[in-house]
């Protein structure tokens, strides 16, 4: 087992980081709150990276982690997820979860938690008999605390032949992909909190010199380190089709969800009053952290699936 990044992987991460720093400033993320079209220039830059979906999951995760660190809005995530189910040109999203919100295979006509459904070229629907392109007969946006990602309820009907797909495999990849994004989000929250604790002076010293703050940050960084490691381990396990992949995917999503929400809560506390303002970017990250923790199964749901595997 080797966690060392290859030179190509280092280059991929650095390229993604530089690209997203330039193309996805927080001004774009904020503009997207009122006008989803604000994310279109970003998509033009990201579209060529959709091909990562066909390669090793580790590489896709390296890219998605950087997306999560800047809260990249738009169709990139749903498109790379859909690309494992069907070939298409342009953007796409997956309609799978039923109205109960669970991502289990069903044949209902109404699907929930369909990401960016009004602005994508294709909707890929999952049915018990396979995967199809879908016609959307009705679409309703569902309000979300996450202003960086939009969710929809859609009524769908199949418009292409059902094609068999390994949905369990796809779900595991999706758990880990969202975990990678969450890792990036958690990392930003941790880093912002560390920087703030170093420069914020109270009682004549930086608050980061207080053990009460230091120990919170130590716990946050432990959670982030666990989440990073669990996520890339799961990606490697899936790439190798190792027997541990099933457990590892649940571990990754649960660990990443816990890390991001912990860093959100304690990050606000460390920032104090300034963190409670609309002006500071913290709340954008907190919104994404909680919405993604719930997307494709909450940490608790993944724990329950782990318990099924451990205690059957």
């Amino acid at each position: 087992m080797d966690f060392t990044m290859t030179d190509e992987q280092v280059l991929l991460r650095d390229t993604a980081r530089a690209l997203l720093a330039k193309e996805c400033p927080s001004s774009l993320v904020r503009a997207h709150i009122d006008d989803p079209a604000a994310a279109e220039p970003l998509w033009k830059q990201l579209s060529e990276w959709v091909e990562l979906a066909g390669g090793p999951l580790v590489d896709l995760c390296l890219f998605l982690e950087e997306c999560g660190a800047v809260l990249a809005p738009g169709p990139f995530l749903p498109t790379v997820l859909a690309a494992r189910l069907m070939d298409f040109e342009g953007t796409a999203t997956v309609a799978m979860a039923g109205i109960d919100g669970h991502w289990s295979v069903n044949d209902e006509s109404t699907r929930a938690f369909v990401l960016e459904a009004d602005r994508v070229d294709h909707v890929v629907a999952v049915w018990s008999s396979g995967v199809t392109a879908a016609n959307v007969t009705a679409i309703r946006q569902v309000g979300s605390v996450d202003s960086t990602r939009r969710i929809f309820e859609v009524d769908v009907r199949p418009v292409s032949p059902h094609v068999a797909a390994n949905i369990d495999d796809w779900l595991e990849r999706a758990y880990v992909a969202v975990a990678a994004e969450l890792v990036g989000t958690a990392r930003w929250l941790l880093q912002a909190s560390i920087e703030y604790a170093k420069q914020r002076v109270q009682f004549d010293v930086p608050i980061g010199s207080f053990q009460a703050i230091q120990h919170k940050l130590a716990n946050m960084s432990l959670a982030v380190e666990r989440a990073v490691s669990a996520t890339y381990y799961a990606a490697m396990a899936i790439d190798a089709d190792d027997e541990d992949r099933h457990r590892a995917a649940h571990v990754a999503k649960a660990a990443a969800g816990r890390a991001a929400t912990l860093c959100a809560k304690d990050g606000i506390q460390i920032h104090g009053g300034i963190g409670y303002t609309w002006e500071h970017d913290l709340h954008l990250y907190i919104r994404r952290a909680y919405a993604s923790e719930a997307l494709l199964g909450t940490s608790g749901w993944h724990h329950d699936r782990l318990a099924d595997l451990l205690l059957r």
């Binding site: 560390i194 170093k198 703050i213 130590a218 989440a227 490691s229 724990h303």
Partner: protein
């Protein structure tokens, strides 16, 4: 990043497994708690097993054959640690010699001192480490055991007290941290002496701890004469060795700690089934959360190892020390809770558990205190890894 091992590394593992199958004694396969302190004697089988490992180059695989190894790569050393942990086989029942004294002597000692290393690794020479004192726990650098040199080349005269000194009841030598310059700042006035435990003036008093066992001791030094040539490294240069000792202690222990917590999670699954609690939603959730933690910690250890093997320092060890000790403690407590009314019962006539979860819980209090308490680990993470001001 990839999950697979190379063909050479798989061959290394196969050779190790074949060796263990042929040589490991039955007594070694009982899943011993690696962190429990030493007792009054080291069983004969354990002495023989450690010597067998040494003689076959399997004691510290990364060392050359004359030091009980086979010049294994860091990755192969990891495979070795992982396989021993997986089979729950301890290398040795007394860690100070092979894990702390020998590596420190090889790094800092003169030729005569280095010559002690093979016997220390083979387990023929039993060591204790004189570090903690009644007033020098987490603040180790404030230690006050005094060593005054009698003339330029004369012996050191040692006075003072050490505490929590594992194996001191049976050790032949003590790797002892002493203050040689009380006027210097506290980190710069410390030296290391090798002290023969049969020197007049040394008194060892067993110390009973909260489980009721007596497996470590207090050591009192009264005018103990130590030859000048037993100074390790430079005079007043001992703090550097301290840091080395602690690094040696932590270097490879993470995989054992992780493996132990993993075993505890497995044991909790069995316990939940035996107690009819396997369908209890609360119990299931707690066990799964623990699994998530231990699986991610194992991955974190491997990730840290990747940078360690490339020559970088691996701060992951502080994370792993902190997380595995805290998690272990909470899991033994969960084991008590799963037994409901019988959680605190310790009676062989009342169920198979016989108080072993409570016992392990009590023992595990040591794990979040010894070797750098959880609070110290968080301080280290905050200041050395996250760069927060001291």
């Amino acid at each position: 990043m990839k999950l697979e091992w190379s063909a050479e590394d798989e061959a290394f593992r196969a050779e190790l497994i074949a060796f263990l199958d042929e040589h490991a004694p039955a007594e070694a396969k009982v899943g011993r708690d690696f962190t429990e302190g030493g007792g009054f004697e080291i069983p004969k089988w354990a002495r023989e097993w450690q010597a067998t490992l040494f003689d076959h180059g399997w004691m510290i695989p990364g060392y050359p054959p004359e030091l009980g190894g086979r010049n294994a790569t860091p990755t192969q050393t990891l495979i070795y640690m992982e396989e021993l942990a997986r089979q729950r086989i301890p290398r040795s029942l007394h860690f100070p010699g092979y894990a702390i004294a020998a590596p420190s002597l090889l790094e800092f000692g003169d030729d005569e001192q280095k010559a002690l290393a093979p016997a220390s690794i083979r387990g023929d020479l039993v060591w204790c480490i004189g570090m903690s004192e009644p007033n020098a726990g987490s603040d180790l650098a404030s230690l006050t055991t005094r060593a005054v040199q009698d003339g330029a080349d004369g012996p050191f005269i040692v006075n003072g007290q050490k505490v929590w000194t594992s194996y001191s009841m049976i050790a032949e030598k003590c790797f002892c941290y002493v203050r040689t310059d009380p006027s210097a700042s506290k980190h710069t006035g410390i030296s290391v002496l090798i002290i023969d435990m049969d020197t007049p003036g040394i008194e060892v008093r067993p110390l009973r701890h909260l489980t009721g066992a007596e497996d470590f001791a207090e050591v009192f030094f009264t005018d103990v004469e130590v030859p000048a040539k037993h100074l390790v490294g430079g005079l007043n240069d001992g703090w550097r060795i301290t840091m080395g000792s602690l690094a040696h202690e932590r270097g490879g222990l993470w995989i054992q700690s992780v493996a132990m917590v993993q075993q505890t999670v497995d044991d909790l699954c069995s316990l939940a089934r035996r107690c009819g609690r396997a369908d209890d939603a609360g119990v299931r959730r707690r066990i799964a959360e623990a699994y998530e933690e231990v699986a991610s910690l194992r991955a974190l250890g491997y990730k840290g190892f990747a940078s360690f093997a490339q020559g970088s320092s691996a701060p992951e060890h502080s994370y792993l020390k902190l997380a595995t000790s805290e998690l272990g403690k909470s899991l033994y407590e969960l084991g008590m809770q799963i037994q409901g009314p019988y959680g605190a019962v310790a009676d062989p006539q009342r169920g198979a558990e016989n108080g072993r979860w409570a016992h392990s819980f009590f023992v595990s209090f040591a794990n979040t205190i010894a070797g750098g308490s959880s609070e110290i680990q968080r301080n280290i993470i905050a200041t050395r890894i996250l760069g927060l001001p001291r």
